[in-house]
Every structure is written in structure tokens, then in C-alpha cells.
């Protein structure tokens, strides 16, 4: 009996190992792209947005072959990328924040393969390594405006917005701040130590994908009086669905597909739409003109888009938000125009906009940043944000 078991085990192992190097028959591809994702490609969130963008490259260019690996953990991503290189990948998209170091290391060892990392805050750019990201804070500012305008429309006097977040990292705080500032901008100017016109309460679930915890957190925020719920977690579906069952408005993030989970109470959302821009990158790789750069694509370049509006949003609100969008794209409006008030220490000098032509640098703990960037959203909350200690 044991002998049979051991033999069959050995056969199974041998088969699975031999299948690794298998390739199909067919014409050689113009470009072979490899992409790794930290989650599922149909999660109606970040990973789906990236997947859809990369799939568009295949639609736009003939003869592109795409290899994808989902649910690749961040601390074990070198092997899948190496596997894709062995299968002939010329361009690798490392789509999650934690893939950065492994991708950079592999790019040094594989100078013929181009690596593109999705995320902000890196200043590494070599002949075959580049980064790209959008400008979510601008989008969050617009969503804050939309939420605030909906409250004015519904004549809610003391609006409270609930923000379900995973971890208190720099990105999340920046998004919360931008959202709050956007909401406050449609009310009277904020004065410190006075009651904030708009309150944003943030609660952390300490997990990117603990769905039951997200449901409980959403309910807790709603029971505290939240009128609109939004989130920064991996996949927004549970938070939005739970808000819908309670009859509370919701705003989505990461992918523009999430509206179907809240057909009645959806206000709007923002999502990543890198398709055309990534097609440009792919064409550079094909033509041999690629040079690595830290790219922050603006709203005017189509890197992010507003999701479809919900049924309760009036035309006036849409117009006002779209006008703000034009101003943000043109550079005449800037979410962090001063005065900004830190809720703990008081006034922060207005955070200056970086000089024209320089890329945005969102703060992460490891990046050496110029002095004018100190205080940028990473370690403070603006006045009006509650919770999140």
C-alpha cells in the first residue's frame, strides 16, 4: 500500500514539474508581456483595474501575448516573474506596491527585459526599469466634493462620512485628507478649533481582505451616523454591498466596475484606466525606444476616470464636479492649497505644489524627499478627520 502511494506521489510530482516548461505551438509573438497581481483579476477592485488596463494592450496591438499570475504574495514574487522571463516575456508589469524591490533586483539581472512597477514614491529608473501611477488624491478630492454636494442637496445639516480603511499607511492618509478637503471645500472655509462642517470618521480593519471585518466596520460607522461610506481596501464589494443593505450612500475606489453592488445608493467612484498609456509603453518596448522613468500620469492623460454616476446625483452636482475636474487637470486647482490645518498641531503652511515639470512624489517612509515635501499627508490628518489613531 505504502509503495503504491509513494510511486503515485513521485509520478504526480514529476508530471507537474515537467509541465512547467511547456509552451504552446504558434507564431512568435510581437511582444510577450508578463503581469503579476497580488489579488484576483476579477475582484472589482485594484487588481481588476490593472488587469483590464493590461488586457487593453492586447486589444490595441496585434500579436501581443500576455501571461498573467494572480494571488502572487509580495514576499514570494521573484519566482513567478523569473518563470515568465523564462517563457520569453519582454515586458513585466509588477502591479502591487510590495513587488518593487524584487522587480528592481530582477531588472539588474535581466537587462533585456523591461520592468514596469505600478506605484508611487519610487525614484528608481534605469534603462529597463520604470514606474507608473495615477493621481488618486485629485480623484479623492472630487469624490469629497461629490459627497459634500449630495449632503447639501439632501439638506443634511451635520454630515458625517465613514471611511473604511485597511492599514494606516501614507497612501491611505493622503486619500483621507484629500477626500476631507474636497468635502470641506463645498462648505464654508474651515477654521481650526471650531466645529468642522464636515466630519470624516476613519476605522481600520487591519487587513486588506477580511470581508466579515469590513462588513462589521461599515455597520459600525453607519450606526455612528455615517451618511456616506467610502473605503480604501482591496476589493470594495463588501463595503459597498453592506452600505446598500443599510440604505446609505457609497463611493467606490480602485475600479470603476463596483457600481453594480449598490444600484440605488451609489454616488460615484474613481478608478484606474491605464489602458492607452500602457499601450504607449508597450509600443516603446517594441520599437526599442524605451527608457525608464518615474511616471505619474495625470487625469488629463486618462490614467484615472470617474465611474458612472448614481441615480440620485443631480445634473448640477455633476456639472460642478466636472468643472473642478477641468481645473484640477489644468493645474489651476490643487487639493492641498493652503491653509491646511493638522488636527493635532494646528496650522500647516500650505503645502506648495512641486515645480512645473517635476513628477509628483508621494511620501513613503523610505524615500528621501526634498524639504518642501515634508509634511505631505503621510503622518497627519487634516482638521475634520476623526478616528484612526
Amino acid at each position: 500500500m505504502k509503495k503504491v502511494l509513494f510511486i503515485s506521489l513521485a509520478v504526480v510530482l514529476a508530471l507537474s514539474v515537467s509541465l512547467i516548461g511547456c509552451e504552446g505551438e504558434g507564431e512568435p509573438a510581437v511582444l510577450t508581456i508578463g503581469a503579476i497581481y497580488v489579488g484576483s483579476i476579477d475582484d472589482a477592485g485594484y487588481n481588476q483595474a490593472l488587469h483590464d488596463s493590461i488586457a487593453e494592450i492586447g486589444d490595441n496591438i496585434e500579436g501581443v501575448e500576455i501571461i498573467e499570475a494572480e494571488n502572487v504574495p509580495e514576499n514570494a514574487c521573484t519566482a513567478p516573474m523569473q518563470l515568465m522571463i523564462d517563457q520569453g516575456a519582454d515586458l513585466i508589469f509588477a502591479t502591487s506596491f510590495g513587488y518593487h524591490d524584487a522587480a528592481l533586483a530582477l531588472s539588474v539581472d535581466n537587462p533585456d527585459v523591461v520592468f514596469e512597477w505600478c506605484g508611487g514614491g519610487s525614484d528608481n529608473a534605469t534603462a529597463n526599469f520604470g514606474t507608473f501611477f495615477g493621481e488618486p488624491p485629485n480623484g479623492w478630492y472630487m469624490m469629497g466634493m461629490a459627497a459634500g454636494l449630495m449632503m447639501i442637496e439632501d439638506e443634511v445639516t451635520d454630515p458625517m462620512f465613514g471611511f473604511v480603511a485597511a492599514f494606516p499607511i501614507g497612501w491611505t492618509r493622503t486619500f483621507i485628507n484629500a477626500f476631507t478637503l474636497g468635502a470641506q471645500s463645498v462648505y464654508a472655509p474651515v477654521v481650526p478649533n471650531a466645529t468642522a462642517a464636515v466630519e470624516v470618521v476613519v476605522a481600520y480593519t487591519y487587513s486588506w481582505s477580511d470581508l466579515a471585518q469590513q462588513a462589521i466596520t461599515t455597520n459600525a460607522l453607519i450606526d455612528q451616523g455615517a451618511d456616506v461610506i467610502t473605503m480604501h481596501v482591496d476589493a470594495p464589494t463588501t463595503v459597498i454591498g453592506t452600505a446598500e443593505t443599510r440604505g446609505v450612500y457609497s463611493i467606490g475606489y480602485q475600479s470603476v466596475e463596483a457600481k453594480k453592488f449598490a444600484p440605488l445608493k451609489w454616488i460615484g467612484g474613481i478608478g484606474f484606466t491605464f489602458g492607452d498609456l500602457l499601450t504607449g509603453v508597450a509600443q516603446d518596448v517594441i520599437s526599442g525606444n524605451y527608457t525608464g522613468a518615474n511616471k505619474y500620469w495625470g487625469w488629463d492623460e486618462g490614467a484615472m476616470e470617474l465611474a458612472e454616476w448614481g441615480p440620485d446625483v443631480t445634473e448640477a452636482i455633476k456639472t460642478e464636479v466636472l468643472d473642478a475636474k477641468d481645473d484640477l487637470e489644468a493645474g489651476t486647482l490643487y487639493p492641498f492649497t493652503g491653509p491646511i490645518y493638522d488636527r493635532d498641531t494646528g496650522l500647516i503652511a500650505a503645502i506648495p505644489k512641486p515645480p512645473v515639470g517635476d513628477p509628483w512624489l508621494w511620501l513613503t517612509a523610505n524615500v528621501t524627499i526634498p524639504e518642501w515635501m515634508l509634511g505631505w499627508g503621510d503622518n497627519f490628518y487634516v482638521w475634520g478627520v476623526t478616528g484612526g489613531f
Binding site: 489579488g39 484576483s40 483579476i41 476579477d42 475582484d43 472589482a44 477592485g45 481588476q48 494572480e70 494571488n71 465613514g162 494606516p168 470618521v201 476605522a203 481600520y204 487591519y206 487587513s207 481582505s209 477580511d210 470581508l211 466579515a212 471585518q213 469590513q214 462588513a215 462589521i216 466596520t217 455597520n219 459600525a220 460607522l221 453607519i222 450606526d223 455612528q224 451616523g225 482591496d234 476589493a235 464589494t237 463588501t238 454591498g241 453592506t242 443593505t245 443599510r246 440604505g247 446609505v248 466596475e257 453594480k260 453592488f261 476623526t386 478616528g387 484612526g388 489613531f389
Partner: protein, 305 residues
């Protein structure tokens, strides 16, 4: 704390505690027969993904619940083969099954991650239809929630008032004595694993089909292990498991309420409240001889051949 907040904590405790209760009941049955099932986490994930997939494909949530239960029972049959027939170490086998469950559930659920399903219908408690939706949504429970406490009573009756339950507990206390009295310890342990797997699968089904109505990898986030702890907390008594499950889920909901009310304590510390509470209660209750673990818990049965 407004009335809405307090009622909300109770509602969340019931919603989140139901799946925990079913899982704990399943594990109580396992442990009463002397088997420590550390693979619960994997079982929950496999059941949740199977139930969600079947619901998504067929459009029928009841079919999904049934599929989840069966998946749980069958998963435990594999575990049973390892610990009963092959006489492997229970703890190690359980952990191996857990990792197996991680992978299998991800495979099953992969195509259904962003899918939208119509979960189990929710029925409002009678007499409350005049309240606004903000309130009524707190009291709309699905059938699995209504059945949770009756099922706990059923398990208690099965364990303590039937011959089958007597045989099961006998196997958990002293397998050789049970064998000498004419029972088949192996068969009884298999039955315990299957029945417990059905119950745990029911808990997982509630989580993915009725409560969150979505599937994501690792969505149970350690609830399998919490159930194992709650079994000890409830001293292997199904009725006390009700208290344990409600207390733990209530503590989770309460700490999130504290976070949402802007209390000036670090969220990381608040997150530990449910676990600290469990330990405190355990210390307060202490241990007694009457409520000790089944004597053969974790022991492999080698038979008398």
C-alpha cells in the same frame, strides 16, 4: 453611545457570530470524539468557496448552502483518513489540511471573486416593519441565523441524550473501553468528523453566501482557529458555545464602534480587545475537573490488534 450604536453592536454580534457558532459546534463534536481538528480554517475556506461558486452558477443560494455543507463533510473525510486509518499525528495532519484548503479554495473560488450573488433572503423580525430602513436592516436575519440556536440545542441533545452521543463521548474519553463495550471507535470518529464538517460547512456558507455575499481568498481570516479556541472557552458544551460566539463577535463589533467614535486609543490596541476578553474570561472561570477536556483528545487510536 446612541441607541442605534448599541443595537448595532448586538446586530453585528448576531450576524458575525452565527458562522462562528456553527463552526464551534462542529469542532465541539470533533473534540468530543477525541480529534483535534486544526484544519478547520481550510475546511471553512473550501466550503465557503464551493458554496459561493455553486450559488453563483445556479442562482440558488439554498443549493449553495447544501454544497458548502457537503464540501465540509467530504473535506473532513480526507482528514479522517489521515488521522484514523493512517494514524497520523492529529495536529500535523490538521495543519496540512489547512494549507491544502488554502490552495483548493483559491482554485475553486478563483473564477468567482468579483461575482455578485443574491444571498439568502433576509426576513424581518415580526412587528418592526414601521421603522426606517436604517433600523430594520439591523433586524433582518436570514434563516441560518434563526436556526443557529435551535441547532445548538439539537447538538447538545444529540451529544448528551442519545445513544449515539454517548458512544461518541465514550470514544473521546477512553477508546479502548468504548471498543470493549461493543462500539467501533473508528466508525464513530468518522461519523463525528462528517457531522462536524457539515456543521462547520454551514457556518462557512453563512459567511460567504448570507453575510458578506462575496468571496475572497482567506476571507475567513483565522475564524477556524478562533472556533478551536471557543470550544475550549465553552468547555466542550454546545450551549455555552452560544455565549462564546456572541461574546467574541460582540467584542469585535464593540471595538470597531469605539474606533468609529473617534476614541483616543490606538486602533491596533482596540483590535486586541476580543482576544484579551476571551483570555480574561478563561482566567476568571478557571478549570475544574468536571469541565476538563475529553480524556482521549488528540490521541491516535491504534486498536487492540
Amino acid at each position: 453611545m446612541s441607541l442605534l450604536s448599541i443595537v448595532g453592536v448586538l446586530s453585528s454580534a448576531i450576524f458575525a457570530g452565527t458562522s462562528l457558532l456553527y463552526t464551534t459546534l462542529g469542532e465541539v463534536i470533533h473534540q468530543r470524539s477525541g480529534i483535534v481538528d486544526l484544519g478547520l480554517e481550510g475546511l471553512l475556506l473550501v466550503s465557503a468557496s464551493t458554496g459561493f461558486a455553486v450559488t453563483s452558477v445556479s442562482g440558488n443560494p439554498y443549493l449553495g448552502v447544501l454544497a458548502a455543507m457537503l464540501a465540509g463533510g467530504l473535506f473532513n473525510m480526507v482528514f479522517g483518513y489521515l488521522v484514523i486509518n493512517r494514524k497520523a499525528n492529529q495536529l500535523a495532519s490538521g495543519l496540512a489540511m489547512m494549507f491544502f484548503g488554502f490552495g483548493l479554495s483559491a482554485l475553486i473560488g478563483n473564477a468567482y471573486v468579483g461575482a455578485k450573488i443574491d444571498g439568502l433572503p433576509r426576513i424581518l423580525l415580526p412587528g418592526l416593519s414601521d421603522l426606517p430602513i436604517l433600523w430594520t436592516s439591523l433586524f433582518k436575519f436570514d434563516i441560518l441565523i434563526y436556526l443557529a440556536i435551535p441547532v445548538a440545542f439539537l447538538v447538545s441533545w444529540l451529544l448528551f441524550r442519545t445513544r449515539w452521543g454517548l458512544g461518541l463521548r465514550a470514544v473521546g474519553e477512553n477508546m479502548d473501553a468504548a471498543f470493549a463495550s461493543g462500539r467501533n471507535p473508528r466508525l464513530i470518529r468518522y461519523q463525528a468528523l462528517f457531522f462536524g464538517g457539515l456543521l462547520a460547512g454551514l457556518g462557512a456558507a453563512h459567511l460567504s453566501i448570507a453575510y458578506t455575499m462575496s468571496w475572497g481568498e482567506h476571507m475567513t481570516a483565522g475564524r477556524g482557529f478562533i472556533a478551536v479556541a471557543l470550544v475550549i472557552f465553552s468547555r466542550w458544551q454546545p450551549l455555552q458555545a452560544i455565549v462564546g460566539a456572541l461574546l467574541f463577535s460582540g467584542a469585535i463589533a464593540f471595538q470597531l464602534l469605539l474606533q468609529s467614535s473617534g476614541v483616543q486609543v490606538s486602533g491596533f490596541l482596540l483590535n486586541t480587545i476580543p482576544y484579551v476578553l476571551t483570555i480574561l474570561v478563561l482566567i476568571a472561570w478557571g478549570g475544574t475537573r468536571k469541565h476538563a477536556a475529553p480524556a482521549s483528545l488528540g490521541r491516535v487510536y491504534y486498536g487492540s490488534e
